[in-house]
């Protein structure tokens, strides 16, 4: 059953040309230079300090390193971070 659902989704993505984040719970990351970053579809905060920030995802995590990191706003599946961003790393579980 689960396999079937996944294959239907795959089909929808390839045939209908839909963006992947809508169907696969993938994070959508928007960066403005190195000063702002918005991440959608996250699954919670793993670690937060002013130099390193880790966010959980479905099947992975995202690490953001920088200076003076501040969570400007946080919602259930959206987070908006300000500061000097130096590195963004995707970690697969």
């Amino acid at each position: 059953m689960r396999r079937l659902r996944k294959s239907i989704r795959n089909l929808a993505v390839t045939i209908m040309d839909l963006p992947q984040d809508l169907l696969f719970d993938m994070p959508r990351i928007t960066m403005i230079g190195n000063v702002q970053i918005t991440i959608e579809n996250h699954r919670g905060l793993d670690l937060f300090s002013d130099q390193l920030l880790r966010l959980r995802f479905e099947g992975g995590a995202l690490e953001i390193a920088g200076e003076n990191l501040v969570i400007h706003n946080i919602l259930k599946n959206e987070v908006y971070i300000e500061g000097t961003i130096q590195r963004v790393e995707y970690i697969k579980k």
Binding site: G44, L45, D46, V70, H72, N73, I74, K76
Partner: protein
């Protein structure tokens, strides 16, 4: 919803969360629908967050679950501000009264300006203004509409073509545009136009009256040129004769023209004297001694200390005396005649009234005597020859 103004009205708090599992607390809080913003790490074991009041009260149970503690750092927004104000009642009252006072004072008319009046007096305008209720310390809302006021002013001031009333802040501006009526014509008595000189008429133009002469007619001084009596013998009509009559007039002019000309020349030698001035007394400082020049011209400049309009009674005079030589120049007889004639022409044209024109000239006689040229010249000048003569009625 994260509008700053909205949050300010609702009130919010800055909270320090302390503990080892702050991330877990955060996740739990967000899952339960708390609104959190501007979160930053203040130390390895504490985080400062901003949150609204609803979320803040939900924090307690979540804190207990995750083993964190909380400390309120600051209370912000209108609800807390009002609390503070309640504590400082008199200060708040003062603030409110001040704002109220400014508002009330700005509702008054403080000044009435009148512009553009020249013939209508200021007092006259202010009397009308008073009748319309425009005066200092009047409430602005008691005044009528500017258009209504403007009409009232225009009706009340007969000399004004238009009056504009404008309320600008606490100032009322009354702008007056006065009527300009043409200057009344001076009243004139019935009259003839007569000749003021012996002449030959060249041109006659009559506006009113009966012409008595024609061009090329000789007239004597006192002859009527344009009669002020029109109509037939039985049906006489007396008017003010108006018109222009031009005629040729003979002028005999005696000219004297000198055969030499004197003029001053600077030799280049000069001497400077400096004076110090107090009040209206001057003390000479430099340039003593006799003047070595036979003829000289002096030229002095005064300097005073002043600031804007205030002049100090202390000053300085620099006098420069330049040597002058008088040169005598001979003029040829031909040139002297030309100079004399030119002067005579301008003089005659000047004396013969407007639009006079020299028609012809003839040298009758000339002689040279005592370094001068004497000439007798006849000028034939075309000029205005008419003058007024009143008609005395009942004669």
């Amino acid at each position: 919803m994260h509008f700053k103004l909205f949050m300010f009205v609702r009130g919010y708090v800055a909270v320090d969360i302390r503990g080892n599992k702050i991330e877990a607390f955060m996740n739990a809080a967000i899952d339960s629908g708390c609104h959190i913003w501007h979160m930053n790490r203040t130390s390895p074991t504490s985080v400062r967050v901003f949150t609204d009041l609803n979320s803040f009260f939900r924090f307690k149970s979540i804190l207990r679950q995750t083993g964190c503690t909380m400390h309120v750092h600051s209370r912000l927004g209108l609800p807390f501000l009002l609390n503070k104000m309640e504590a400082r009642l008199f200060f708040t009252m003062g603030l409110v009264l001040f704002i109220l006072g400014i508002y009330v004072l700005s509702q008054l008319v403080w000044r009435v300006d009148v512009e553009g009046n020249e013939r209508i007096s200021y007092d006259e305008i202010m009397t009308v203004a008073e009748q319309q209720g425009i005066h200092p310390f009047q409430w602005k809302f008691k005044l009528q509409e500017p258009e209504v006021l403007s009409r009232a002013f225009t009706d009340a001031l007969p000399g004004a073509a238009w009056v504009g009333v404008e309320v600008k802040g606490t100032r009322v501006r009354i702008q007056v545009v006065e009527q300009t009526s043409p200057e009344p014509k001076p009243l004139m008595n019935p009259r003839h136009l007569v000749s003021n000189v012996d002449a030959v008429v060249t041109d006659i133009f009559v506006e009113r009256g009966r012409p008595m002469v024609k061009p090329h007619m000789k007239v004597k001084k006192g002859d009527i040129l344009v009669s002020g009596i029109t109509g037939s013998e039985e049906n006489k009509h007396v008017v003010v004769a108006e018109g222009k009559v031009r005629g040729l007039v003979w002028h005999i002019y005696n000219i004297q023209a000198p055969l030499s000309h004197q003029h001053k020349v600077y030799t280049g030698q000069s001497k400077v004297r400096q004076y110090f001035v107090i009040g209206n007394r001057a003390l000479q400082l430099t340039g003593y001694g006799k003047l070595p020049f036979a003829a000289s011209q002096s030229d002095s400049k005064r300097k005073t200390i002043q600031w804007r309009d205030y002049v100090l009674p202390i000053g300085w005079i620099r006098e420069e005396i330049r040597e002058v030589r008088i040169d005598k120049e001979d003029i040829a007889i031909k040139d002297a005649k030309v100079i004399g004639l030119t002067q005579a022409r301008t003089d005659i044209v000047m004396k013969s009234g407007d639009n006079a024109r020299i028609h012809d000239e003839k040298i009758l006689h000339e002689k040279i005597e005592g370094g001068k040229v004497y000439m007798k010249v006849l000028f034939e000048v075309e000029q205005e020859i008419s003058t007024e003569l009143l008609i005395i009625q009942g004669e």
